[in-house]
Symmetry: C2
Subunit: 422 residues, 2 copies
C-alpha cells in the first residue's frame, strides 16, 4: 500500500490567488469560513517542505482555516530538489491516527484531498509556533507536560508493547513507503553535517571548528552512524518523525503538535531526543538573547518535565496494558516486568540523548538550521553559540552511557553550561 499520488492529473499548486476559489468548492470549509465571504490569505509556514496558508474571513478573523499543500519539490531548496507529494498522504494518515489517540493535542482536519496533496485543518486561534515563543523568552506552563504526554500516548500505542503482532504489521505497512522523507532525515540529520558537503550551512569560524572537532572525530562519527543505523533499522513505534519546537503551536493553555509528514516506524528515542535537542539549542541561544538566567533555567526545567511526563505516562500505559506482541500473561511476574521496564527506560534515555546530540549538530552545521541561532545577525556571536552547541552535542554523545536518570542528564548539561558560552 502506498500513497502514490504523484500523477499530475487533478493536481495544481495553490497560491494566494487561486486558494479562495478552491476553498469555495469545499462545503465543510465554507461552513467554517462563512458562505460567500471575502477571504484573507497569507502564507505562514516556517517549515522546510510544504506551503502553509492561513485563510480567514475578511470580515471576521475568528473564522479561519489552515491550508497545507505538498508541492512536488523540497520547498526549502526549490524546484531543483524534486520530492514526491506522497508525503501528504503520510501526514494525513498520521494525523487521522493522532486524532484518535491524542485528540486535544493535534488540530482537527476539516478536509483532506490526496489528489491535491492538501490538508485543511483547524486554525489554532491565538497560538503561535513554539519556537518563536521560545526565541522571545515566553514561558508556557503546560507545553512540556503536553509534549511528554503526546509522545507517551502516540509512541506507546503504536509499539509492540501495545499492539498485537498482525495489527502492528498492518500499521507498519501503511508507513513503510514514506521513503523520500526517511531518506531526507538519513541524509540531513545523520550524514551531511558531519562531513564536507555542498548542502551544509557555512559560518567561517564555525566551519573551522567543525572541521577540526566534528569531521575528524572518529568516535563521534561512529556514534552518529550507530544512531543512523537505529533510525533506519529499529521499527519500534510510529514516530512523529520531526518533533521539534517548530512543529508545535502553543499558547498559555494549549499545545498542538503539527507537521507529521515525516511519520514512520522508527526508534522511540528519536522523537524524545529531537525535542530535547531543540530545547537545548534554544537554551544556548538565550546566552545571547536574554539578560538573566531565568529563561535558560526554565528551558532546562522543561526538559526534565518532558522526560518525566513522557516516562511516567509511558510506563503507566505499559503497566496497564493487556496482552500484545511483547506482553503475554504468565510469561513474566509483575516484579520481572517492572525490572524489564526499568532497564528499557534507562536505555531509552541514553538513546534519546544520542539522538539529541545528532539533532543539535544537524541544526548547527546542516542546511536546516534553527531560527533560535541562525536569526542572530552577528556572525561572531552566532559562531560562539554554534560552537557551544557542537561542544554540548559531543558531551552528550560521549557521556550518554553514564546517564542513569534525568537528574544525571541535567547535571551533565548544567556542568557544560557552567563554562563560559560567549
Amino acid at each position: 500500500m502506498s500513497g502514490a499520488n504523484n500523477t499530475t492529473a487533478d493536481y495544481r499548486i495553490l497560491d494566494r490567488d487561486s486558494l479562495p476559489e478552491y476553498l469555495a468548492g469545499i462545503p465543510a470549509v465554507v461552513e467554517v469560513l462563512g458562505p460567500g465571504a471575502d477571504l484573507n490569505v497569507r502564507e505562514i509556514g516556517d517549515g522546510n517542505l510544504n506551503f502553509v496558508f492561513h485563510v480567514s474571513n475578511a470580515a471576521d478573523a475568528s473564522k479561519a482555516v489552515i491550508v497545507k499543500q505538498a508541492v512536488p519539490y523540497l520547498r526549502l531548496a526549490g524546484e531543483d530538489w524534486p520530492l514526491g507529494r506522497d508525503r501528504m498522504t503520510y501526514e494525513i494518515r498520521a494525523l487521522s491516527l493522532y486524532n484518535q489517540l491524542v485528540p486535544g493535542l493535534v488540530p482537527k482536519a476539516y478536509h483532506t484531498d490526496e489528489q491535491m496533496s492538501t490538508l485543511i485543518m483547524e486554525y489554532l486561534g491565538d497560538h503561535i509556533i513554539l519556537r518563536l515563543g521560545m526565541i522571545d523568552g515566553i514561558q508556557y506552563p503546560k507545553v512540556a507536560e503536553h509534549i511528554g504526554y503526546f509522545m507517551a500516548e502516540t509512541l506507546f500505542a503504536t509499539s509492540a508493547w501495545s499492539m498485537g503482532s498482525t495489527e502492528r504489521r498492518q500499521l507498519m505497512e501503511q508507513f513503510t513507503m514514506n521513503a523520500e522523507l526517511c531518506k531526507l532525515s538519513e541524509d540531513f540529520i545523520f550524514t551531511f553535517p558531519y562531513m564536507e558537503h555542498g548542502s551544509n550551512y557555512s559560518n567561517p569560524a564555525t566551519d573551522v571548528w567543525a572541521r577540526e572537532n566534528i569531521h575528524t572525530d572518529s568516535q563521534y562519527k561512529l556514534d552518529v552512524l550507530a544512531f543512523k543505523n537505529l533510525f533506519v533499522s529499529k521499527t519500534e513505534a510510529l514516530l512523529h518523525g520531526d518533533l521539534h519546537s517548530g512543529s508545535m503551536m502553543v499558547n498559555q493553555a494549549d499545545s498542538y503538535v503539527i507537521d507529521m509528514e515525516f511519520a514512520f516506524f522508527g526508534p522511540i528515542a528519536f522523537d524524545v531526543g529531537k525535542i530535547i535537542g531543540n530545547f537545548l539549542l534554544c537554551c544556548t541561544s538565550h546566552y545571547y538573547r536574554s539578560g538573566g538566567t531565568e529563561y535558560r533555567q526554565w528551558l532546562l526545567q522543561q526538559i526534565e518535565v518532558i522526560w518525566n511526563t513522557f516516562g511516567s505516562h509511558f510506563v503507566e500505559r505499559w503497566t496497564q496494558a493487556g496482552e500484545s506482541t511483547l506482553l503475554t500473561n504468565g510469561f513474566l511476574s509483575n516484579d520481572e516486568q517492572a525490572q524489564y521496564r526499568q532497564t528499557y527506560m534507562h536505555t531509552l534515555l541514553q538513546d534519546a540523548v544520542g539522538f539529541a546530540a545528532c539533532s543539535m549538530t544537524r541544526r548547527t552545521l546542516g542546511i536546516a538550521g534553527v531560527a533560535d541561532i541562525r536569526d542572530i545577525e552577528d556572525a561572531d556571536i552566532r559562531s560562539k553559540l554554534e560552537i557551544a552547541n557542537l561542544k554540548l552535542s559531543k558531551r552528550l554523545m560521549t557521556g550518554r552511557k553514564s546517564l542513569n536518570s534525568i537528574d544525571d542528564l541535567l547535571a551533565l548539561i548544567k556542568n557544560f553550561y557552567s563554562s563560559p558560552i560567549l
Copy 2:
C-alpha cells in the same frame, strides 16, 4: 502489497491421488517428468507447516520434482490451528530473490502457483535433509562453508549497508505482511517454552528442571524478552527466518537451503544464531548417539567454519560495497569504517549467541522439537540430553556479553561439555 490468497476459489488441497492430474496440466513440469509418464508420489516433508511431495517418473527416477503446498492450517497441529496460505507467497518471493543472490545454494523453481499456494521445484537428487545426515553422524565437508556463504550473501545484500534507502523500503514492503509466520515465531520461539503453556512438549524430569531453572529464572526470561523485542523491531535485513539443519538438503558436494516461508525483515543475528543453536542441539545428542568424540568435534568445528565464512564474506562485501543507505563516500575514512565493522561484527556474534540460546530452549521445551533429541526413545536419556541443552542455553545467554571472538564462544561451549552430559 500483500499475498492475500486466502480465498478458496481455485484452491484445493493436493494429495497423492490428485497430484498427477494437477502436474499433467503444467508444461514446464511435464517437461521435467516426461510426457505421459506414470508418476510415483510420496510425501517427504519433515517441516511443520506444509505438505511436501516427491514426484518422480515411475520408469526413470532421475526425472523428478518437489511439490510444496501450503494448506490453510498449521500442518504440525492440524486443522484446528488455522493458518493463512499467504505464507507460500512469501516463500515464492524469497526463493525468487535467492535465485538471483545465491543461485547454486537454493533449488530452482519450475513453476509457482499463488492461487494454489504451490511451488514446484528442482528435485535435489541424492541429497538428504542435513538434520537426518547429522543424526546419522555423517560429515559433510562443504556444508558449513555453504551455510556461512549463504547467510553472508543474502543478509548483506538485503541490508542497509548494501541497498539504497528507497529500494530497501520497497523490498521491506513485500514482506511486512508475513504476519502469521512472524507471530508463530514470536509465540513458539520466544514465549511459550519459557512458561507453562498447553502447547509445550512434556517429559517429566525435564519439566521439573525447566520449572525450577527456566520458568523461574528472571534474568534469563528478561534476556529472552529482549531478544524477542529485537526479533520484532529490528528490521535489519531479509532473513530466511527458519534456517536450521532441517531447512537444508545436502550431500558431500552440494548444499541447498530450502523452506524460506518465514522470510521477513529482522535482525541478522537471528539467522546466524538459529543455525548455531541447531548444531549444538545435535552435538549434545551425540553424547548418546555416537561412541567417540569425533563427530561432536566435527560439529563444533562446523560452528567455527560457519561463523568465520559468514563473517569474512559479510565483511568482504561490506568493504567492497558502493554507496547505500548507511554508506556515504566521505563520511568515514577507511580506518573508521573498519573500526565500525569490527564493533558491529562483535555485537552481531553476541546477539547470535543469544538467539542460539533461545533456539535451543524452544527446541527442547516447545512444541516443535528436533529429531536429534526427540527421536531418542529412552525418556531418561532424552531428559538428560534435554537438560544439558537447557543448561547450555543458559550458559550462552549469561556468557554472551563476554564473548569477543568465535574462539571465546568455542571455549565456552567446550568448557560446558567438559562436565558429564549423561
